[in-house]
């Protein structure tokens, strides 16, 4: 049942990210060069690290998801601890990604929309990190029920969504200035 709720939130938040991606492409048409003249392009190195970290994080997440379906409490517990570590790491890396944009949010529409894409996705990352921490704490409760484990699968779906959306969005912001 909760799967459906997660799917609903994926659609809602995916639309939010789509709005910013659309705005990014729309606003680029207002500029002769992208980034604008005298603005350095973003440094893609940090994005590469973030992308690798997020892809790596899928491994423990998939293990947690499968563990929950097998009702294997141990795998789910310790897998979620690792997932939380990855989640916190992605949040920290997001801060570095913002710096790697090499532009302020208030310098031009280019800066605003590049920050906008990163900050919107970062908000979802922060929320998901918080949710993962709470869920992990719940897993260590003494009177845990079998049905409480199903939240692991919902967590997994949302984590896959965040990873899979970051690859094209980050690519749009960090790599397209080299092609546009």
């Amino acid at each position: 049942m909760m799967w459906w709720g997660t799917l609903g939130f994926v659609i809602i938040e995916g639309s939010t990210l789509l709005v910013l991606a659309f705005s990014y492409i729309y606003l680029a048409r207002n500029f002769d060069s992208w980034p604008p003249a005298h603005v350095p392009p973003p440094s893609p190195g940090v994005f590469g690290v973030q992308a690798a970290v997020m892809l790596l994080s899928l491994v423990p997440m998939i293990l947690v998801d499968r563990g929950a379906r097998r009702v294997d409490l141990r795998t789910v517990r310790w897998g979620m601890v690792i997932v939380c570590a990855f989640a916190i790491a992605t949040c920290v890396l997001r801060g570095f990604e913002l710096r790697a944009l090499n532009v302020r949010w208030d310098s031009s529409a280019y800066g605003s929309v590049a920050w906008g894409v990163l900050v919107a996705h970062a908000t979802l990352l922060l929320l998901e990190t918080a949710e993962s921490l709470v869920f992990t704490a719940v897993l260590f409760k003494p009177d845990l029920e079998e049905r409480d484990l199903s939240a692991a699968s919902d967590n997994a779906i949302y984590w896959y969504f965040l990873t899979l959306t970051w690859l094209p969005l980050g690519g749009l912001v960090f790599l397209s200035p080299y092609f546009m």
């Binding site: 459906w4 709005v19 910013l20 705005s23 729309y26 605003s112 949710e131 704490a137 409760k141």
Partner: protein, 644 residues
């Protein structure tokens, strides 16, 4: 003895063990008493009723704003309201009616009646439902408190840039608008998720998608439209807020931003918004037409397909709000085509209803009068809609009162009129009492005549060049007579609304007892008592046709759901075969706390971006409390870590 009917609890036809089951249900699903219970409720009927009452309060406030505008415009160069206050009033009127009344009231009708019509006990996520209401209430209160503090928004309900940007609208008025929109979007999205998941996964056994009432289809379409449209305005309003708060330049042409970007983002939401409001009304009409003609609505597949087509097409029209912005002619022509096309599914539905009435045995009760009124008013509004869909015509009437006339005909005629009928129709179910037919007839005719006297002259005013959003006009324009007529019509509407309120209050106190099924309806909400008990149905119905209450030989019921815990049945998506059960929560304060945290975050964000930092810990704490499994929730099947 034959199997018990869903509403048999009150009929005294139960065996002793069935009686025990009902007593346990009473205990398990009981509402907590007092103010504490009110804050902690997670049951869909009280929550939906709160939504309905709150939405109608906003309807009255929006109506007072309208009355003020009509009073000011009744004479040339009137001095009742100055330009600044007038700007706030038309903005508040639009924002209130669109965001605080029209969408929430429709979602609320769904939140109350969809679980009943599909034969389940609650919506899919009870705590989320409660949270949605509190967020809505706080958003509306926030807007009106701001208005009374002279910080009400004043740039129109659509808040166009650059007027709404930091340069031309200093202060916090537009920020209040942006955050009100955020509150209401969250609440609507919550309601949409509830409706979709409940409809897909909680239908009674046997209620295949093909057997769902047309009302339920309408609410499903409404919910999907919300899901895809609302994130656009939620994001856009935050982008506007950031332009004003932290000097981003999304909409600032001087730094490469784009004023038209705002219009695209707003209207990509704004056009589906009106169909979000309109489609549930189609569901009300179908329910009332079938009951009051005593036959199923003609052309069920065509009706379903029309509502779905309206939703899809509704996402392809938004540029018709931007015909005067200088976009390329070819792209504008495309939107002329799509805007005209959307009349087709609406037309199909109207013909199906006419066929139903023609081949049925109509009973001209007050709800049915409102259905007939809807047909007349909506057709008029639809005609003018097809007119303004044409670019050359729209270039003449854009931003004139012709457009005001058009959208009030489709919104009042297409949504409010069926809604009023729906109130007369379902008031007996919600309260257990009938409304007065006599007062209802007076109210209907006053409303119908008043509506036409108010808005029909506005077509001519538009042709004669009267622009929108002006606080007064000169006598030499010659607009005085038509404006005075429109204002007189508004007085008639106001009287009809007062009559409606009198009818509601008197009927609550002394209306005739309704019984479970006063109208002879065909859908499942009429198979239980009026008002329904908290658990809705003593025994879950099993459905074998589209009109379960009109099946010969009585109804089948399902047994086996636990009565000692709050449990609902989960069924498969297409065929509604029993699949599993879902445990529902006990009453809890955490949705309320989470809503307070949300309000603190968004209101603080108006003044400082640190609002996120301030609000986030509160939200985190509230979420923890919300999600933490509770000790009193009947812990079972405890987990053991096999390694320890």
């Amino acid at each position: 003895m034959s199997a018990p009917m869903p509403g048999d609890a009150l009929a005294g036809r139960l065996t002793p063990s069935e009686h025990d089951a009902v007593r346990r249900l009473d205990q398990t699903w009981r509402q907590e008493p007092g103010f504490r219970g009110w804050l902690r409720s997670v049951d869909h009927k009280p929550i939906a009723l709160r939504f309905l009452v709150t939405a109608f309060v906003f309807f009255l406030l929006g109506g007072l704003e309208a009355a003020t505008m009509r009073a000011q415009l009744s004479r040339p160069e009137n001095t009742l309201v100055g330009p600044d206050l007038y700007n706030q009033i038309f903005t508040m009127h639009g924002t209130t009616m669109m965001f605080l009344f029209a969408v929430p009231v429709m979602t609320a009708m769904g939140l109350y009646f969809v679980p009943l019509m599909i034969g389940t006990r609650n919506v899919a996520f009870p705590k989320l439902n409660a949270y949605g209401y509190w967020v809505y209430l706080f958003g509306g209160l926030f807007l009106y408190v701001s208005f009374f503090l002279n910080t009400g928004p004043d740039t129109g309900w659509f808040s166009y840039v650059p007027l709404a940007g930091p340069e031309f609208s200093p202060g916090k008025r537009v920020d209040v608008w942006a955050q009100t929109v955020t509150f209401t979007e969250i609440a609507s999205l919550v309601g949409a998720v509830e409706l979709i998941v409940t409809i897909f996964k909680n239908r009674a056994p046997g209620m295949t998608l093909n057997r769902m009432p047309l009302f339920v289809w309408a609410m499903l379409v409404h919910a999907f439209m919300i899901l895809f449209a609302m994130p656009w305005i939620a994001t856009a309003s935050q982008m506007l807020a950031m332009d004003r708060l932290v000097a981003t330049h999304y909409f600032n042409p001087a730094e490469g931003g784009d004023a038209l970007l705002w219009q695209h983002l707003f209207w990509f939401f704004g056009h589906p918004e009106v169909y979000i409001i309109f489609v549930p009304a189609l569901g009300f009409v179908s329910s009332m037409v079938s009951t009051f003609t005593r036959r199923p609505v003609f052309g069920y597949p065509a009706m379903v397909f029309s509502m779905v087509a309206t939703a899809f097409l509704g996402f392809g029209l938004w540029v018709h709000h931007m015909f005067a912005t200088g976009l390329p002619a070819l792209s504008e022509s495309f939107f002329t085509g799509s805007s005209i096309m959307i009349a087709i599914p609406s037309g199909v539905q109207i013909f199906c209803w006419i066929a139903t009435i023609w081949y049925g045995r109509p009973r001209f009760t007050v709800p049915f009068l409102f259905v007939l009124g809807f047909v007349v008013l909506f057709i008029i509004g639809g005609f003018t809609g097809v007119m303004v869909a044409s670019v050359p015509f729209d270039l003449q009437v854009h931003d004139t009162y012709f457009v005001v006339a058009h959208f009030h005909y489709v919104l009042i005629g297409g949504a409010v009129t069926p809604l009023l009928g729906a109130v007369y129709y379902w008031f007996p179910k919600i309260t257990g009492r009938m409304m007065s037919e006599r007062l209802g007839r007076w109210q209907f005719w006053l409303f119908f005549v008043g509506m036409n006297v108010t808005f029909f002259p506005m077509h001519w005013l538009g042709f004669r060049g009267m622009p929108r959003r002006v606080y007064t006009y000169l006598a030499e324009t010659g607009w005085g007579g038509l404006n005075l007529t429109a204002s007189a019509g508004a007085a008639l509407i106001a009287i009809s609304v007062v009559l409606f309120l009198i009818n509601v209050v008197r009927s609550l106190r002394a209306g005739a007892p309704a019984g479970p099924d006063p109208w002879g309806g065909d859908t499942l909400e009429w198979a239980t008592s009026s008002p329904p008990p908290p658990y809705s149905f003593a025994f879950l119905p099993v459905v074998g046709s589209r009109e379960p209450l009109w099946e010969p030989g009585g109804m089948t019921v399902a047994t086996g759901l636990r009565t000692d815990v709050r449990e609902v049945l989960v069924t498969t998506l297409l065929d509604a075969a029993p699949d599993s059960t879902h445990r529902h929560p006990q009453p809890t304060i955490w949705p309320f706390v989470a809503a307070v945290g949300t309000a603190v975050t968004f209101i603080t964000l108006i003044f400082t971006p640190w609002g996120v930092v301030i609000g986030f810990p509160m939200l985190f704490a509230a979420f923890t409390g919300w999600a933490w499994p509770r000790g009193d929730d009947h812990r079972e099947q405890l987990m053991v870590d096999h390694a320890s």
